[in-house]
Symmetry: C2
Subunit: 664 residues, 2 copies
């Protein structure tokens, strides 16, 4: 299977730009590109051979994931020993690798790296770090992060698990008072982790001080048996992530020493006195960080899906244009281009916006350490809406890619089902998308109330400019004008929400009820704001990079910008029709522009997904491999089914034959 | 667990209408209601006990599905023996039961009933029926239906499998000339069926006569071994339907007797002379039938999903409205109502439209048998767009229901993942939705060309009326006006496509290229037409039934009609803004109307899903059971995981512990 499908070969020959130039641009420059390739070389190719995972039982999948995770993290350890990974960059090293590539359906050790370690680093005192960090960093202990309960996810203040300080013994007593207070979901907690960070309501001297973090040992380090008073297990099968070993845990008056509360910010003194954190805003940091990671990660899912779908669409032929002619590559159908190319453009728009988000994150984090919080709520609102809109867009586009591959996209071996199942989880975890958009809306409403002061933080400053144009000017079909139009839409939606809310409150409705009554419109306003961020970030970046990239690449990047912008103008047309001066004739021209851009991108479609530079192992797809041997791989994979061994299954003799003979 | 969750109890007490009246209305009257209940009593409760299916390996799932299918069809056989099922109504009997209820992830014997038997009935001669029908009806043989190939789905004329007549031996020689010609997908073909209907290119006297159907034995009836020259197996894991045993088959010059071509319509005489069918349009019947079934079935998936999500939302509480108050049922959040109630309304709109489709189907089928074909293409176009829009709407709404259940909706035990996976397959099978919409578009374009003749078939007759109103009148926010507005939108989209196409053709573009260039807009026009059908069918039916239902139910049905109509007006607002005189103020009032209707429906939400009358066994959901014991069931189900047996898994000793000790 070493040769390449002829259609793919031709596609690559007709590509008009240098794919490597684009790959390096995506990676963030030659150094980062080299670094990624180097680490990929170590981390990939660690797959165990054997029956493909999709044939295994739930328990076998678990066992497989342990084998694979241990192998993978042993490689990470070797990188560490070579000094190539330090605590400063390990997240980066993991990010692309951990997420559904080597360990395809998730790793039970992910949370150890993504939440257990960071919690100790960020919230532990120096003594606590000295006590725990080395052992955790070297994986001598493996931790999880237990926050969500059976009965509580969104409303963290409502968590029921308690940690009550006993000044006599200088211990905290951990307790799960109800079934609904059982922790539920933490990755790896079921049968892998022997420690966890526990989020529980702190009680001391008879008073509740809200949720705090505790380091809790769950299992014996030697025997792996659950410690006394702890009921721990795994929560059962899910839509995806079935190798993550998500667990539950309940406590029956379990005691831990006082120094296992993470006390960098708040403390409980020996006598039980509670010392409040000087700055509880610092807790926002990790939450914002995780949501930013998730937003950036959406690109990984989407680029995989669209690479698979575009390559398959270049190989798959169906229907001759005219009777007697050869059948057409389905990539030549405008409807197929309409389904797929927006995903390519979205990968770039989201990647660029994610970079911008990280820039702001770094600025604000630095300010936080300097004691300045003025952009914290802006950053929080930004991460919320980008996580919500980004995962939601990616989830629907991944599904669109899958559907575009027809029946074969329904095969597990295409890997599209798995990608769908993983990205769709991202719409829920670490903040349900609806809840997050309402968080952003709350910030926008507050921002509006300050608009007359004239001083708005950078990402909402456009509201001032947009408001000053009370009558929108004549419509122009240009990218810049569309971006400005989205600013007006966002501004109008926010101001309309404010007006509706003021009217309701004035008529005697409570603020809480008003908020609920306006929530559908508030969500729409928050999304509109997020569209402005995505569109303007993409626009500004392409505009700026035009000076540095080659002319050939510049053309293609601008086509992607056009496609993305015009696509969203058409998607949100009802807003433009209501809030700008766009006419039906303009709309027709926009539609033509959109379709012309699809056709213009067509010759470079395969080149554009090749430039994502995703290894066949990362894609893990019969439909998407670099060589395009689609049908050969589909059959080869099917033949691995244990049912295809040639033996007649016992159910034939026991059930099927007697049934056919009328004996059952 | 016999008592009922208190919140659900309260919801049921506040319901303002008689749920049983609505259930009977949904079932189609008291007789059909009684009939369904009677058959449910026989068919349900046949589940095997043991480890839940989601923990099993692929092979174990297969074995389980054989056990369950044989049990289920033995019950069907008993119904037959009692005279309660005849060939005339067996499809009806199956429909609700077969599809993902008793056999949760699909049955490998489904195609035997849905396609193998009907093919013999519809396309076999009387002699062939005498030879095969009894044995098939009694399940002495089990058949599949093999059409789709690895390389061909949509373009049936491009199928590669050949059946070449050999006049010397009076046999057909079946052959698979390429890898891509292997049949791929037929349900049950892998290891269950011993016969299949094969769709192959007929060659006789050196000439190809296109695809025809053949009865082909695949496996020995006694040993179940594949017959010589036949390579058969199963295609491997899929997103869903993993119990269906979808198979592949290839033929190496396999011979079958002449009388195994189904010859009711076309024939091959002994000497090899081909006798063409007098009416090849008869072949459309089964295709239209299957698509109509799928459209009607979408309601089953959606009603299950929304029943689960609404009950869960009544039980789940999250966040107090004000600090100190009890937490709120999430069903009280407007955003949650916005996510869920449209699904309830859609179930009714689609059920009603499906009934209308069946009425037309019966009329046209009768006409066909009388030799009249004038409404055949109308019916075909109608079934195409309803299948496409119906499955696509249902798929996105089912996913919306799943997401509305947060993390717990991601649990397999909620059954929502399974429902998502099944309905999403329906967007592809039996005609990819994009291809089907283009079929409808083709009919609409042809219809437009006859519009001046003034005589259009009933379902497109509105185009004439809509065209006569060249300037839309003043906008009124009423259901009737919105329905009329959608007619105008459809008319304008079709006429705009025609105009664009004429311009392109006039400028020298071939018709085929023009079609492709306009295809995105053609799909949009076909969808707009389908919206007219759905909205007007719902409107007319509720209007008519108002005279017969109780006043209490009438109120609620009208609220559902309002909700559905206004929801779609807001969804398709850009069309209304472009093609009607609706103003921004009208839009604001529409939005308020929509939100007020959500609030009005809130007290009856649980009553409305209760009225779908879905047994807990049909729902198969920890979140959706009638008693609302959500958390108890989640935990109970998790404890069934074999990993939770208490034993430490061997991977701890072999991998995890050595890794933690730094020895790996």
């Amino acid at each position: 299977m070493s040769d390449i499908n002829q259609d793919l070969l031709k596609e690559r020959l007709r590509c008009t730009f240098d794919r490597k130039e684009l790959t390096i641009l995506i990676d963030g420059g030659p150094d980062k590109h080299r670094d990624r390739k180097e680490k990929d070389a170590v981390m990939l190719h660690s797959k165990f051979e054997g029956v493909p995972e999709d044939y295994l039982s739930y328990v076998e999948k678990f066992e497989n994931s342990i084998k694979e995770s241990v192998e993978m993290f042993s490689r990470v350890r070797r990188l560490q020993e070579q000094g190539k990974t330090t605590m400063n960059n390990y997240r980066e090293v993991m990010a692309n690798i951990l997420r559904s590539t080597v360990v395809r359906d998730g790793s039970p050790m992910g949370l150890h790296y993504f939440m257990f370690l960071p919690a100790i680093i960020n919230q532990g005192t120096e003594e606590q770090q000295a006590q725990w960090l080395d052992r955790a960093w070297n994986c001598n202990i493996i931790g999880s992060y237990a926050q969500t309960e059976l009965g509580h996810g969104t409303f963290i203040r409502g968590l029921e698990t308690t940690a009550t300080y006993d000044a006599d013994t200088k211990e905290f007593v951990l307790h799960s008072p109800t079934l609904s207070s059982y922790k539920w979901w933490p990755g790896g907690l079921g049968h892998v982790a022997n420690y966890c960070i526990l989020v529980a309501q702190l009680y001391t001297k008879g008073k509740c001080h809200g949720v705090h973090l505790f380091i809790v040992q769950i299992r014996d380090e030697d025997t792996h048996e659950p410690l006394p008073g702890i009921k721990v297990g795994e929560i059962g099968p899910k839509l995806g992530f079935n190798s993550v070993n998500n667990g539950f845990v309940g406590f029956n008056n379990v005691r831990i020493p006082r120094n296992q509360m993470l006390m960098r910010n708040s403390q409980v003194l020996e006598d039980g006195t509670y010392v409040k954190s000087k700055n509880d805003k610092l807790n926002y940091g990790p939450m914002i960080f995780v949501r930013s990671v998730i937003f950036g990660d959406s690109v990984n899912f989407l680029s995989k899906a669209v690479t698979i779908a575009v390559r398959y669409s270049a190989v798959r032929r169906q229907c001759p244009r005219k009777s007697g002619e050869p059948e057409v590559q389905i990539l030549d159908y405008l409807t197929q281009q309409h389904k797929l190319f927006i995903s390519i453009a979205t990968c770039h728009a989201m990647r660029i916006t994610a970079n911008k988000l990280w820039d702001i994150f770094n600025v604000v984090t630095k300010e936080l350490h300097d004691g300045t919080y003025k952009r914290l709520s802006e950053l929080h609102a930004l991460a919320c809406c980008l996580k919500a809109v980004g995962t939601s867009d990616a989830a629907s586009l991944v599904e669109r890619c899958r559907l575009a591959c027809g029946g074969h996209g329904y095969m597990r071996s295409s890997n599209l089902p798995n990608i769908c199942q993983q990205i769709s989880a991202a719409c829920t975890y670490e903040g349900d998308n609806t809840v997050l958009l309402l968080q952003t809306a709350r910030f926008l409403i507050k921002t509006w109330q300050q608009i007359d002061s004239g001083k708005l933080t950078p990402t909402v400053d456009y509201l001032n400019t947009a408001r000053s144009k009370s009558h929108p000017g004549k419509w122009v079909n240009s990218i810049e004008n569309i971006v400005r139009a989205f600013e007006i839409v966002s501004m109008r939606k926010i101001s309309s929400c404010v007006e509706n809310m003021e009217n309701k409150v004035a008529s005697g409705v409570t603020f809480e009820d008003t908020w609920n009554m306006c929530s559908v419109q508030l969500i729409s306003a928050a999304e509109a704001h997020c569209r402005v961020i995505l569109l303007s970030s993409f626009y500004e970046d392409i505009h700026a990079s035009s000076k540095t990239v080659s002319p050939e690449l510049r053309v293609v990047l601008n086509q992607l910008l056009d496609l993305y912008t015009v696509y969203w103008a058409l998607e949100k047309l009802s807003d433009l029709l209501q809030y700008t001066s766009i006419t039906s004739e303009d709309v027709q021209r926009l539609q033509a522009w959109y379709e012309d851009t699809l056709v213009a991108l067509r010759p470079n479609a395969v080149g554009l997904v090749d430039a994502f530079d995703l290894d066949d192992m990362v894609l893990g797809s019969t439909l998407g491999s670099y060589d395009g041997k689609v049908y050969e791989r589909l059959m080869e994979d099917a033949l691995k089914s244990p049912l295809n061994s040639g033996k007649i299954n016992y159910t034939f003799y026991k059930y099927l034959k007697p049934f056919m003979e009328g004996k059952l």
